[in-house]
Amino acid sequence: MRRTVSFRLVVDPIRCDGFGHCLELAPELVTLDEWGYPILHSEPFPQSDRELLRSAHLAVRGCPRQALSLQKITNVQER
């Protein structure tokens, strides 16, 4: 059995007020729509990607509305 852990940034759209801090803190994971609300990359990134994980953590901590969270996805593969 092999376990792979990956992460994805998710937003609570009710909390989000479009401050846009996430774009500054994690530009690799976020684009903004025309009204300034974040569109988060839906593709999960692997745990080994330390750069992305760091950016994601910064975005989660830096959101003034606390609307962001990091979703952990554990995949178990039979070998």
Binding site: V10, P13, I14
Partner: protein, 422 residues
């Protein structure tokens, strides 16, 4: 039992007025001591009639497995969809069948309270439910107590999280639930919420059993469905087994024209071409058309009508019904409505259709509830089904049917208070 259930089930024996408890028990047999096992409910294959078609037994099992107990059973008869009226018809025919089902489900989960929710604006239905509950008397030794609740009737007020949210703290706002299935609670008590028609079917299954229930309909969607049919200026309610061809439903609603297009699933639903009259009204048959039965709303658009004008009005209504909690919905839907409005007025430009599609992509899947997704689905299918109309308007040509009064019913603007939420 004296009633004939061969053509109608939950709408059986319409007297022109709601049945009293005595009349109800003559028709269907006694209400007291009705019981149903989860086994039997699972075997019946009953699915929710509110639109999502989730198996009712799975919902009950999921709540039974929770650590905390379920305290409330909610009957959702809000019917915020302007083109729907079947729950009101059901309560005006067999109100006690709905209460029977709620009682059975409450006993199954040991819940001690049933909350029947009717929109504040539906005053005659409120009177019916109020009378029916009073007829059942005060709380009996066994079984739940019944209460009527009347939230304000906004479009999203009937969305399950918004409704429970109002029951809990008087806010008709949807909540963000990233993991599903999730539980809804009032205070610390879990909630089982089902559409009124689902409850009525439980009331029948408890009496006549799963095999009887499965004897009509399709194997994946057994039983009947109540459809709300509009289009010819009249509103009809037709109860049919799942799988009945659209043609016979429209005949039953005395619609005697071949529609230009058919809207299924309401103002957050799917347009299909009017030629598809022989398709069965069940989810397996409708899936190839990317449509679903939803809560049984059918609008048959007459041949002489303008698709762009109809869509512009509906999207404008849906934009105003947004709870404005999420940015993509609060800004995206008005942007769609503004583009459609200028298009309908013949002030279109060649780029406007591409702009509408781009807005749909931008909004899709980005709200806390499914309200914006429904509008996107509605508009995407409209762009395909009414492609000729849209191209015509986008080229700046006046529409053939500009003078025809619109068909789809929209609650009067003056009746809708803007941005007022409880």
């Amino acid at each position: 039992m004296t009633v004939d259930l061969s053509t109608h089930r939950v709408l059986a024996n319409y007297l022109g007025r709601p049945k009293s408890l005595a009349e109800h028990e003559v028709d269907f047999g006694p209400s007291a001591r009705l019981a149903l096992s989860i086994e039997e409910l699972r075997r019946s294959g009953l699915t929710g009639r509110g639109g999502a078609a989730f198996p009712t037994s799975k919902k009950v099992e999921f709540l039974k497995d929770q650590k905390r107990s379920t305290r409330y059973v909610v009957v959702n008869a809000m019917e915020g969809e302007p083109a729907a009226h079947k729950d009101r018809m059901l309560l005006a025919t067999n109100p006690h069948l709905v209460l029977d089902g709620a009682m059975v489900l409450a006993n199954l989960l040991n819940a001690d309270m049933v909350l029947v929710c009717v929109a504040r604006e539906h005053t005659s239905t409120i009177a019916i439910v109020d009378r029916a509950i009073k007829e059942r008397g005060p709380k009996r030794l066994q079984g739940p107590s019944f209460e009527l609740r009347t939230p304000p009737g906004r479009y999203v007020a009937g969305e399950e999280s918004a409704l429970v949210n109002w029951l809990d703290n008087n806010e008709t706002l949807p909540t963000y639930r990233p993991t599903k299935p999730s539980t809804l609670s009032i205070g610390r008590g879990h909630v089982l919420l089902d559409n009124a028609e689902t409850h009525a079917n439980v009331g029948l299954i408890a009496r006549f059993g799963a095999d009887w229930f499965r004897s009509v309909g399709t194997s994946s969607r057994p039983g009947t469905t109540i459809t709300s049919v509009t289009g010819n200026g009249k509103a009809s309610v037709v109860e049919v087994p799942y799988g009945t061809p659209l043609r016979s439903i429209l005949n039953g609603a005395s619609i005697n024209y071949t529609p230009r297009a058919i809207l299924l699933g309401g103002y957050g639903g799917t347009w299909i071409d009017g030629r598809h009259l022989d398709v069965g009204f069940d989810d397996d048959s409708l899936r190839p058309l990317n449509a679903a039965t939803g809560a049984g709303v059918i609008v048959a658009l007459p041949p002489a009508s303008c698709g762009v004008a109809e869509c512009a009005r509906i999207v404008d209504y849906m934009a105003r019904e947004s709870a404005r909690q999420c940015g993509p919905c609060a800004f995206g839907l008005p942007a769609l409505a503004a583009n459609l409005d200028s298009l309908a007025r013949g002030q279109g430009s060649p780029g406007v259709l591409a702009r509408l599609s781009a807005l749909c992509d931008e909004i899709d899947g980005r709200g806390a509830c499914r309200h914006p997704d429904g509008v996107v689905r509605f508009l995407r299918t409209a762009l395909a089904v009414f492609a000729d109309d849209f191209n015509h308007h986008a080229a700046g040509h006046p529409c053939h049917y500009a003078a025809v009064p619109p068909v789809c019913y929209i609650p009067h603007r003056a009746d809708i208070k803007d941005l007022e939420w409880e």
